[in-house]
Subunit: 154 residues, 3 copies
C-alpha cells in the first residue's frame, strides 16, 4: 500500500499547503533529497495551534500540535512532489517544542509527529533520525515547529 492509499484509509485531512510566512521556500529538492522548512501546526481552517507547553498548554496539546505539524509537512510534500507516493523515506527531523525551562517530555510531544509519519510511510520508511528539544520561543507563539529531510524518487 502506498502513502496516498494509507492516508486515505486513515481518513486524514491535510491543511492547505502552507505559504511561506517570510523569505523562504517551503521545500527544496537537491538530488534525491527534499529539504523541508520549519513548519508549524497549521490547521485546515488556516489557524495555528499556539501555546507554551508546561505553562498555558499541556503535553496533550503539544502532541496534537506535533501531529498537526506533520499534516502540514505532508501537505507541502504533496504540493511539491505531486504525490506522497514519491517519498522513499523520512531521513531526519528536528522537532522543536515551545515549552518552559523545566519541561522534559519533548520526545513524547514530538512522537505526535513521528507516529503520523510511521502511519503514512510505514514502520521502516516512516521512521528516521530525530532530535526533540525545547525552544525558548517560536514564531507567533506556535506550540511546535519541525523541519525535516525526506528521500524521494521520480
Amino acid at each position: 500500500m502506498g502513502a496516498e492509499e494509507r492516508l486515505a484509509a486513515l481518513k486524514l485531512e491535510l491543511p492547505p499547503a502552507p505559504k511561506p510566512m517570510a523569505l523562504y521556500v517551503t521545500a527544496l529538492r537537491m538530488g534525491d533529497l527534499v529539504y523541508v522548512s520549519g513548519h508549524g501546526p497549521l490547521k485546515p481552517d488556516g489557524s495555528l495551534i499556539k501555546g507554551k507547553v508546561g505553562a498555558d498548554a499541556d503535553v496533550e496539546l503539544g502532541i496534537a500540535a506535533a501531529r498537526q505539524t506533520g499534516l502540514a509537512i505532508l501537505a507541502t510534500l504533496r504540493d511539491h512532489l505531486g504525490s506522497l507516493d514519491k517519498v522513499v523515506r523520512l531521513v531526519k527531523s528536528l522537532g522543536m517544542v515551545n515549552c518552559t525551562p523545566e519541561f522534559g517530555d519533548q520526545p513524547k510531544v514530538i512522537n505526535g509527529y513521528s507516529e503520523l509519519m510511521k502511519d503514512v510511510f510505514g514502520a521502516e520508511a516512516g521512521v528516521g533520525v530525530r532530535s526533540a528539544v525545547g525552544m525558548g520561543s517560536l514564531p507567533g507563539g506556535i506550540a511546535v515547529e519541525i523541519e525535516a529531510v525526506f528521500q524521494v524518487k521520480d
Copy 2:
C-alpha cells in the same frame, strides 16, 4: 550578473572571514554542498552584535544582527571558495534568535539575513528552505546565530 558583481554594486562591506571560536571549521565541502558552521553577527571592526530581542534589544537590532550574520557567512564562503560566484544556490538555513520566551517575530528578524541572500544570489538561487526559531541563549550573548548549507560548483 554574478554574486561578486552584485555585492560590489550593493556596496556591501564584508567583515574579515571569521576565525573559529572553538574546535570546529567555519565551512566544509562535501561533494557539491558546503556546510557552514553557526555564524554570529560579526562586524568589520571584529566586534559582535549582542542583545536579547524582546528585552535589551528590539526587532530592528535583531534584523540588523541577522543581516550582519549573513555578511559574515558571505566572508566565510568567499574565503573557502575563492569567489562567491562559485555558489550555485542557498539550500538551507537555521536562523536562531536570542530572545525572550514571549517573543514571536523570529521570521521578521531572520529576514534581515534572507533579504541579503536574495540580493546577492538572486530571487531564485538566494532563497532556500529555512527555520527561524527562538533560543534560550547564544554564545557570548550574540543576538543571532545562523547555520546554512549552500550548493557550489568548481
Copy 3:
C-alpha cells in the same frame, strides 16, 4: 592509526549503544553519510548527566556532559557500522546546551565533545562544522544534546 586503535590507546569506555527513547532510529545511512539522532550524555551505567548550566550545573559539568554525549554517539556509530574505522570524517554537529538565558559559554561546553572527536578521528577528520547554542530545555533535563552527520566508507 585508526579510530578503533586510538580509542583503545585512550582507554575510553563507551556506554552501551543507546536505545531510541521514542519513535526514531539512532542513526541512518544515506549514501556515504550517516545521520545521527540527537544523543544525550549516557553513562556506562545507563544513567544520564542532567542539569541546567548556569543554574544547578556549572561549565565543568557541561563539558563532561558534552564529552559523554560524544562517547554515546561513538557507541551508536560502532553499533551501526561494525567499526569506527569506517568513519571517514565528522561533517557537522549541532551542539545544544541546557542552560540559563544569561549563559554564554556554549562553545566551551561543546568543546568537551569536539575534543573527543578530534582525539578519536584526528585533527583533520575529527573536526567538522558546528553550532553551539543554548536551549530553553532538553528531554528529561539532560545537560547537553548533540546531533551529528558523519561521512563513512564500506
